[in-house]
């Protein structure tokens, strides 16, 4: 999910279209970087999670929406585990833990694949603001070096990224 260019241009007070291509490139780079820095899934996405054997597993995708399927190979056949055979434990820390009630045998050399629905349907404003501020910083300072001193604005990008970061939750 990308932030509309019009939102970014309005916030940065850019009222011309000459640099739209540049701004789109910067927006996409900023969005990708914010996702990597925070560990958040910014757009709705089905993420695969692979398990070598049946074990309780914290789901590392934030925001978590649902477990769509759990599939495994048994007797050479791909099988979907009934949703009644697993459950989500939300009592053990901030991340939901996928726990299995049944542990059917799986073929050697295969893995269990859980498909996890995750990502924001609508981006929170703090993420939108982080992307805007990073886009604006890069737009105003496209080079790696400047002949002037630049200062970071307190409580801005770094503050937002640090407060949104989810890596600490992953055990």
């Amino acid at each position: 999910m990308s932030i509309p260019l019009s939102t970014i241009k309005a916030a940065l007070k850019i009222e011309y279209s000459d640099d739209d291509t540049d701004l789109i490139r910067l927006r996409d780079a900023a969005t990708s970087l914010v996702a990597r820095e925070t560990g958040l899934v910014l757009a709705p996405e089905d993420k695969p999670m692979y398990l070598a054997y049946w074990r309780p597993t914290a789901i590392p995708f934030v925001p978590f929406v649902s477990v769509k399927t759990v599939k495994y190979f048994t007797g050479g056949v791909e099988t979907t585990m009934p949703s009644t055979d697993y459950w989500l434990d939300r009592t053990d820390g901030p991340l939901p833990v996928l726990r299995f009630l049944e542990e059917p045998s799986i073929d050697e050399g295969t893995q269990i694949t859980a498909t996890i629905e995750s990502g924001y349907l609508q981006l929170p404003n703090e993420i939108v603001h982080a992307v805007i501020s990073l886009t604006g910083a890069w737009y105003s300072n496209p080079e790696a070096f400047q002949p002037i001193g630049l200062s970071t604005v307190p409580m801005s990008l770094q503050f937002i990224l640090e407060s949104l970061r989810v890596r600490e939750m992953i055990r």
């Binding site: 916030a11 007070k13 850019i14 009222e15 011309y16 000459d18 640099d19 604006g136 737009y139 105003s140």
Partner: protein
């Protein structure tokens, strides 16, 4: 470049009429010809004798993004209306020739 946070004012370009009076001088008629976002700073104010009294001359510096100023075609022949003042454009500088920041020196006329 210039920070978007500084561009707090919305300035109106006033384009001079090409009509001339009977003496061949430019008439004092102006047409609105586009807006641009800018930063306005009062550079100096000084007293000057005027008729049988005195008046104050105020100099302003306007900073804006160069592509925006170029897009609306602002020239030294124009006036700029911003923050309730009408300013006479004295010079337009493309800072460092980088096409990033326009520095517009102005004098207040009304």
């Amino acid at each position: 470049m210039i920070s978007g946070g500084l561009l707090r004012w919305r300035a109106l370009r006033l384009q001079a009429s090409t009509a001339q009076d009977v003496l061949g001088l430019r008439t004092d008629a102006w047409t609105a010809a586009g807006y641009f976002r800018c930063d306005v700073r009062n550079q100096s104010s000084s007293e000057q004798a005027y008729a049988d009294g005195v008046t104050v001359r105020r100099q302003f510096e306007i900073r804006a993004r160069w592509p925006q100023v170029a897009a609306i075609g602002l020239t030294e022949l124009d006036r700029v209306s911003v923050d309730g003042r009408t300013l006479k454009v004295q010079s337009i500088i493309n800072l460092d020739g980088a096409d990033r920041v326009a520095v517009i020196q102005c004098e207040q006329v009304t």
